[in-house]
Point group: C2
Chain length 403, copies 2
């Protein structure tokens, strides 16, 4: 434990924390302390422990019994786009099924939009996420599907996050409808060359109507050769090869995982691929929810993310995803909150976020509630009172005494 000196100039003590979710216990998984305090210094967590033993600091904040959590890590979002699809949503709710081809509506609008329009929309969504407690988010391209449009999307994404994903392989664009192999060549060749400098990750939508197993494997291999680590859209709309492709490619994460066989789960567990579940997509397309319980019981690492996009899942709310995971997917409140914080960090191969132990980045949420369980116990209610990113208060405010 550091002494008072080590908290340094500009340190902040948050004390009176009813529940401090640290995800930093002896065992891997959810961990929390009650009656706790936390010290932030130089953008990182300098100390956590019992409030009664907290060191001095330059600024003291009283949490008044509220809960403090790591900021959410949303490892799957599509935020570079123009236009909206609320009419398609309403029609789908009235009975029309979801099809991957709806993506092309957004592709058309995105190609036609100016940089300024795309940037304003992206920044509006990023700010909205931050207000809801998401302090790290991944952002994919995938609505450009030409070399310049994909490169533009990634450059814009890189302005707002370090977790930038090249998703040229979202769907085959109409101009390649007669030559899908030619589009795969473009994705693996000139488009990748133009995009790789802005990206950390390569992703592929491996699904009927999008890309098959061999195409997906080729795209991930090309991405890896260009220095990009792999993630995969897998098994969203039906059974298929996505999870297996992810495992064989050593992907960080297989995302959706709604339709998995036992062999798929074994492959994910063996290859230590995180299963990232996106319940907003099932909510928004009225599909069955993925079975998180089955994955957890098999030893898989599960993350939760929003899949925020204008077609299948236009929520940016990690609290909403936590509530759905508990109601619909067999997760406990602890498992769901771990999946939305530490799980997202795993899916992004990050060790500096998703936890609140000494040395972690000081990304944290003050809930206007006494425990993490309230995210599921009070669904839909905005309960994120204040958000710190790298030690700086970036959204909300610290409320007064809690009645």
């Amino acid at each position: 434990m550091p002494d008072q000196e080590s908290t340094g100039q500009g340190s902040t003590l948050i004390t009176g924390i009813g529940e401090l979710v640290t995800n930093d216990g002896d065992r891997d998984g959810f961990a929390a302390m009650t009656g706790a305090a936390l010290v932030i210094a130089e953008g990182t967590v300098a100390w956590t422990g019992p409030a009664s033993r907290a060191p001095a600091a330059d600024t003291v904040i009283d949490a008044a019994g509220r809960a403090v959590l790591p900021g959410f890590a949303d490892s799957h979002a599509h935020l570079v786009f123009a236009g909206e699809r609320s009419a398609e949503f309403a029609a789908r709710m009235a009975g029309r099924p979801y099809r991957a081809g709806g993506i092309l509506v957004t592709v058309e609008a995105t190609r036609a939009a100016s940089d300024a329009v795309l940037r304003a929309n992206l920044r509006r969504l990023a700010a909205e996420m931050l207000r809801q407690g998401t302090t790290t988010f991944e952002c994919k391209s995938g609505y450009g599907l030409t070399v310049p449009d994909e490169a533009r999307g990634l450059a814009l994404a890189a302005e707002v996050t370090a977790e930038v994903t090249y998703l040229g392989a979202h769907v085959v664009p109409p101009e390649f409808a007669a030559d899908p192999a030619g589009y795969v060549d473009l994705v693996c060749g000139p488009m990748l060359a133009a995009c790789a400098p802005s990206a950390r990750w390569v992703d592929v939508f491996c699904e009927d109507g999008a890309f098959g197993a061999d195409e997906a494997a080729a795209i991930l291999a090309a991405g890896r050769a260009a220095g990009l680590a792999a993630r995969v859209h897998a098994n969203q709309l039906g059974p298929g090869p996505g999870a297996r492709v992810a495992a064989e490619a050593g992907a960080a994460s297989a995302d959706h995982c709604t339709f998995l066989t036992g062999a798929d789960i074994d492959a994910l567990v063996s290859a230590q691929v995180v299963a990232t579940l996106l319940p907003g997509a099932e909510f928004g397309t009225r599909q069955p929810f993925p079975d998180a319980r089955r994955l957890l019981d098999a030893g898989a690492t599960v993350a939760l993310a929003t899949d925020c996009n204008p077609g299948s899942s236009f929520t940016s709310s990690m609290p909403f995803c936590v509530a759905l995971a508990v109601r619909e997917m067999g997760m406990t409140t602890e498992e769901a909150v771990w999946a939305a914080t530490a799980g997202g960090a795993r899916a992004l191969r990050r060790t500096d976020i998703g936890r609140l132990g000494a040395g972690a980045r000081a990304d944290l949420i003050l809930l206007d509630a006494p425990s993490h369980a309230y995210l599921a116990y009070r669904p839909g209610v905005p309960q994120v009172a204040a958000v710190w990113q790298a030690g700086r208060l970036v959204a909300g405010a610290v409320p007064g005494p809690r009645p």
Copy 2:
């Protein structure tokens, strides 16, 4: 249409409204205008129409293409209580079924709480509702279950709303476990006499484990004799007589309606009893959702409400209920928003709220979205930007131009 003069001193023009939900068309049901404006004067709606023809006003607000809706009317909430039941919630999510007896945990905490504690909790929840767009809410007693505790609960509720409901018949308290008939006598006699002056409504939880058909009918009749209009908790946990009792008593509303027979629906329609659906309760107890489509197709009037309470449904979010109604209950976005506004007004027999036509109370919401559909299209995302109650801005702020 009034001329400019009639908007008077202190009038406010909201113009540039992308979609103005009026619920005030020629036909009964959802109605909206695009490219609209609205004038508020003296706490009421003075004018609505095309933005191009809007009269002058003292203050002008630019909605910048956003949607304006009537404030939500939440016709079913239990806000006078102490304590919380997040551990019971978490256990239930892990597999333990919901039982009405859990109410007694809250009864014990409520009886033990000071007026100040109850008032602070009630006001916190009322403010939270307002921030989420609920400009009218009903509030029940039912966690006191003694003469002084029920009377206290209603007096506190009457401090914050005109829609106060006497629910002495929530469950039989433990001290009457051996004499439930004696408790019904108390509810119909001295407790009613002490409570009626603070209340507008009488309610009864008609369900196995709570009160049977004859008891419920007797309680509603006694309430009516004391000047209280009837509403009923009906058919939440299984089939039963609740809906029929509500119809026979001429109740304004039968609430929950999760397990209805065809005959139940016919009875509600014939007696013009509103079916108030509370999807937060099904979400929070993992029960099947009520079938709104079946009710609507049979000609029933459907309302949506939160059932906000610390046991079965601790959400205060009408937007969340709208999203669930669309995803889970077969309602269109128009039907769900009508049910959350005009439907709630019907369930409270109010004609001054739930609509935005000339003469209505100026209770309205500015969404940070271009249409009402976004409440379902973007589930979980806080989109209520500003709220007016009787013409006064009471929560949020008018945002700048929308990107």
